[in-house]
Amino acid sequence: MISWDVLGAWLCAAMVVWIYSFAYRDNALYKLAEHMFVGTAAGYSIALALDSLNRVVVSPAVRSPGTFWTTSWHYLVPVALGILLFAKYSRKYYWLARYAVAVNIAVGSGLALRTVPIANIVRQITATILPLWGSDPVKVLNNWILVLITLGGLTYFLFTIFPRVAEGARPSPTYRVYRSLYYIGIYGMMVGFGALFANTIMTRVGFLISIYLIYIQPEAWAATVAAILAAIAIILGILRKR
């Protein structure tokens, strides 16, 4: 009667309700679900790690040793470096792990240095160079807003180079321009934040609907039982605190 599939559906439903119960109050069942989650997640990452090791190194080396030893022998270097990571548990040889981390951070940083000047800087500049006049008033207004908010935001992020005004002195024109751009920047960014925040509500509600979909299954009774258990756990938790 009770197969692994039914048990699985039960567990699946229970995990969701127990985790949701945290939104109301921390309780023992949430703690259980959380620890189960962390355990499987940690196991899952190790499995993913083994899987990529298998795919990149072990499988080519076993399945076609000829090509591996001629073209991909250098993969043994990162394997050796990876094993060095275990040196961090040693009091004396902890620094050996740095060799592996060094390769990692250098490749990451090097790869980022290639794409970032183009994607994050040149592309953004070219996208901001827009005509601020023309026959279409709506387009012109949009362009003004785009350029001003972008420049304003950049001004807001100036940390060490900016005009200052001496105590009691009249603010210079540069300072006035700086201040107004600064405020355009921060107000413009606030509009963006408000819009993004509100826009996210939609996706989050969508997620709740996805969860709801789990429960239109034959084993829906399992969810009910799990929910009742969670409610009991919450009430017990409150009673114990008092």
């Binding site: 945290f22 794409t115 160079i129 940390f159 180079i161 900016f162």
Partner: protein, 294 residues
């Protein structure tokens, strides 16, 4: 004299690039990649040399004025308050790895951590740092140890309590962090680093225990949650400045000036581009120009 020496390497590098490009162009050599805009390379070299120049200046003893960052100043208040209430301070910096483009934000988080750790040592607060990056466990331990030892409170340092590597899987990490916030009943919740959807989970869990919350990230989509929900927030790039300020290292702070040069350059290029459009010139084409011979 010292400034002159600081200028030497930047000038040499720029001259080298200029001479190389000039000769290459004159001889019609395909010197640079035909796929990438040449301006990107120039901007990269320019910013690296500018940053290097400021760093040498700082080494020579020149200090840099920094704009007020309210959230940074609030960190001390947050730590002091939670000591008053007898509650621990919590800090987390995400699960973005150090081998990706999230590295700067992650390192900014570590910088803020060292500041928090020093303050915890000063006020005698218990610090709980949670993390989702296995490579950073040793670093985190070291930073917290340093914070407590430099303040003369080695007895507060207990690595299994202070440093908690939870897991690198996003939501398992998030679920464990929110539970930690509640169960430890933290008084201050400081969240700085690269964050994804888990940002709001941390903010709401912190709110459930009425913690004083300071948060910051440079990940565009998550900034709104921090700005709207936290008591104080670092908006975008402010975390880099805060990380540099917190590290207390003059040269690191000076390198932030290189970033400012980048922003000024962007402002100038945008204004120039818009103005030259008036004259019918297209700066965009110049910026997109790639080195192609023949």
């Amino acid at each position: 004299m010292k400034t002159a020496r600081g200028l030497l390497i930047p000038v040499v590098v720029i001259a080298l690039v200029a001479i190389l490009s000039g000769v290459g162009w004159a001889l019609r050599i395909q010197l640079y990649s035909p796929k990438t805009p040449f301006s990107a390379f120039l901007i990269l070299v320019g910013l690296l040399t500018a940053g290097y120049f400021f760093m040498t200046e700082a080494r020579a003893g020149k200090s840099v004025p920094v704009r007020r960052i309210p959230a940074f100043e609030a960190v001390e208040e947050a730590v002091a308050r939670s000591v008053e209430m007898g509650r621990p301070v919590h800090m987390t910096f995400g699960f973005g790895t150090i081998s990706s483009s999230m590295a700067p934000q992650f390192i900014a988080g570590l910088g803020v951590l060292s500041h928090v750790a020093r303050l915890c040592g000063k006020y005698g607060a218990k610090l709980v740092a949670t993390l989702g990056v296995p490579e950073a466990i040793a670093t985190t331990e070291e930073i917290i140890r340093e914070g407590y030892y430099s303040a003369g409170r080695p007895e507060l340092f207990d690595p299994t309590y202070n440093v908690r590597y939870l897991t690198d899987q996003q939501f398992a990490y998030a679920s464990a962090v929110q539970a930690t916030l509640i169960r430890e009943n933290v008084g201050a919740n400081i969240v700085v680093g690269p964050f994804w959807a888990e940002s709001l989970i941390f903010m709401e869990a912190g709110n459930m225990v009425n913690a004083f919350q300071i948060a910051g990230t440079a990940r565009e989509t998550q900034i709104p949650f921090f700005v709207l929900v936290a008591d104080y927030s670092f908006i975008g790039e402010e975390i880099f400045a805060a990380g540099a300020l917190a590290s207390g290292d003059k040269e690191t702070l000076a390198s932030i000036r290189g970033q400012d040069v980048g922003k000024l350059l962007t402002i100038v290029l945008v204004i120039l581009g818009v103005l030259t459009l008036l004259a019918g010139l297209k700066l965009v084409d110049a910026l997109n120009w790639a080195w192609k011979v023949g």
